[in-house]
C-alpha cells in the first residue's frame, strides 16, 4: 500500500559506514523508497528528522552520544521506525516504543523487504495524515495491535 506518486522518504542512521552501505544497497531494490539522508550518529539523526520530516527511519541502536531509543525520545512526530541492530535484547523495548520491525544484523534482503512490507501495512500514507493522527492516539492503537497487524489511519 505504498504511495506511488511520491516515494517514501527514508533516513538511514548507523555509526558504521559499511552498515549504512549495505542498507543503501538493499534499499536500491525498492523503487518506492528514496533515501533522503544518511546519518552517522544520533545527533545528526535528530536534526535530520526535524528538518526533513522523513517517513521512515532505519535506526541502529548502539551509537555514540545518543542511542536509537534516545533519538526516538527526542524526535517529535510520526516517523515510522525499523530498528537495525546486532543486539537482540532490545526487542521488547523496541516493541514498547512502537517500532514496526526489528532487524537483526546481519539481515537478508528478503528480511528487509518483509520489514518494509510491514511498514506499508502499518502506516498507509501516514505522512499525509499528521493532523488526523496524533502521536498519543497512535501509541494507544499500536500497543493493542502488536507488530504485524495492519494499524494506522485509513485516510488517503
Amino acid at each position: 500500500m505504498s504511495d506511488h506518486t511520491s516515494p517514501i522518504q527514508a533516513v538511514i542512521v548507523d555509526d558504521e559506514a559499511l552498515a549504512r552501505g549495505v542498507m543503501r544497497e538493499m534499499l536500491a531494490a525498492h523503487t518506492d523508497i528514496e533515501i533522503a539522508a544518511e546519518c552517522g550518529n544520533g545527533f545528526e539523526a535528530v536534526k535530520v528528522v526535524a528538518e526533513m520530516r522523513p517517513d521512515l527511519l532505519l535506526l541502529d541502536i548502539q551509537m555514540p552520544k545518543l542511542d536509537g531509543f534516545e533519538v526516538l525520545e527526542l524526535i517529535a512526530g510520526d516517523v515510522t521506525v525499523i530498528f537495525v541492530t546486532a543486539y537482540d535484547q532490545y526487542a521488547i523495548r523496541a516493541f514498547e516504543v512502537h517500532a514496526v520491525d526489528y532487524l537483526l544484523k546481519p539481515f537478508s534482503p528478503e528480511r528487509l523487504a518483509e520489514a518494509l512490507d510491514r511498514r506499508a501495512r502499518a502506516s498507509p500514507r501516514r505522512r499525509r495524515c499528521r493532523t488526523a493522527w496524533s502521536w498519543p492516539a497512535a501509541r494507544g492503537r499500536r500497543r493493542s495491535s502488536g507488530f504485524s497487524s495492519a494499524i494506522g489511519p485509513t485516510c488517503t
Binding site: 559499511l18 552501505g21 552517522g40 550518529n41 555514540p64 552520544k65 546486532a86 544484523k105
Partner: protein, 234 residues
C-alpha cells in the same frame, strides 16, 4: 575364654566401623576435591567462552555481508581474520599460561577486525618492552580489556580515538596498561562491568595478593592497569 573372644570381636567390629567411617570421609574429601577442580575448570571455560562477545561476531558478519558486493577481496580478508581470531582464541584458551606476545598478537587480530567496522575512528598505539612480552600470563587476560576499550570506549565516540596499550617489566612485576578515551556522559549500561569483574576474579584466584587490577576513569580517559608477578618460561 568366652569373654576374651567377645571382647576381641567387639574390638574388631569397632575397628572395622571406624575404618569404614574414615574411608568414607576420605572418599568424600576426594570427591569434593575433584568436584571443586571440575567446577573451577568449568568456570574458567565458561569465562573464556563468554569472552567471545556474540555481538562482535554479528557485527563482523554484517560487515562481511556489506563488503561482499562493494569489495569482495576485503570480505574474504575479513572472513580469514575472523577465522584466525576465533581459532587463536580457542587455542590460547586451552593453555594454562601463554606468552604475553601471543596475547598481544590476538589483540592485534581483534583490533584489525574492528578496524574494518570502525574505520579511521579506531587508532591504536603500543609500547612494549621485549622483557615484558616474553613473560607468561594466563590466556585471554588482556583481550577483554582491549574489547572494552573498543566497545565501551572508542566506538562510543563520534570522532573515535586512540587505544594505548603498554607493557613493562620492573623487576619481579609485570605491568600491563590499557587506556582509551571514553564518553564521560555515556549511559550506565554501556560501562564495562562483567569483563572487568571476571578479570579481577581471575587475577585474584591465580595470583592472590601479588596481583592487582587498577581501574580509573578521569575526564574522558578510561585506564586499566594489571600488575602480576613476572613469570618466564623455564
Amino acid at each position: 575364654m568366652l569373654f576374651v573372644i567377645g571382647a576381641l570381636l567387639f574390638w574388631l567390629a569397632s575397628i572395622l566401623h571406624y575404618l569404614l567411617i574414615a574411608f568414607e570421609v576420605s572418599q568424600q574429601a576426594e570427591r569434593r576435591a575433584i568436584e571443586l577442580s571440575l567446577l573451577t575448570r568449568d568456570a574458567e571455560l565458561k569465562a573464556l567462552r563468554a569472552q567471545i562477545d556474540p555481538h562482535f561476531l554479528f557485527n563482523s558478519l554484517h560487515s562481511i555481508s556489506a563488503l561482499t558486493t562493494v569489495d569482495p577481496a576485503a570480505a574474504r580478508r575479513m572472513c580469514l581474520l575472523l577465522a584466525d581470531f576465533l581459532r587463536e582464541t580457542l587455542r590460547l584458551g586451552a593453555n594454562n599460561r601463554i606468552a604475553l606476545a601471543d596475547e598481544f598478537a590476538l589483540a592485534d587480530r581483534f583490533l584489525e577486525i574492528e578496524r574494518v567496522r570502525l574505520g579511521s575512528r579506531l587508532q591504536v598505539t603500543r609500547e612494549t618492552d621485549p622483557q615484558a612480552t616474553a613473560c607468561l600470563v594466563p590466556p585471554l587476560l588482556i583481550q577483554p580489556l582491549v574489547e572494552n576499550a573498543v566497545v565501551h570506549g572508542v566506538s562510543q565516540l563520534v570522532e573515535g580515538g586512540t587505544i594505548s596499550i603498554a607493557a613493562t617489566r620492573g623487576g619481579p612485576t609485570l605491568t600491563i596498561k590499557v587506556e582509551n578515551p571514553c564518553d564521560p556522559d555515556r549511559p550506565r549500561r554501556q560501562r564495562p562491568g562483567f569483563g572487568l569483574d571476571l578479570l579481577r576474579k581471575r587475577v585474584a584466584t591465580q595470583f592472590g595478593a601479588e596481583g592487582t587490577v587498577l581501574v580509573e576513569e578521569n575526564e574522558g580517559r578510561f585506564r586499566v592497569e594489571v600488575r602480576i608477578p613476572a613469570e618466564v618460561a623455564a
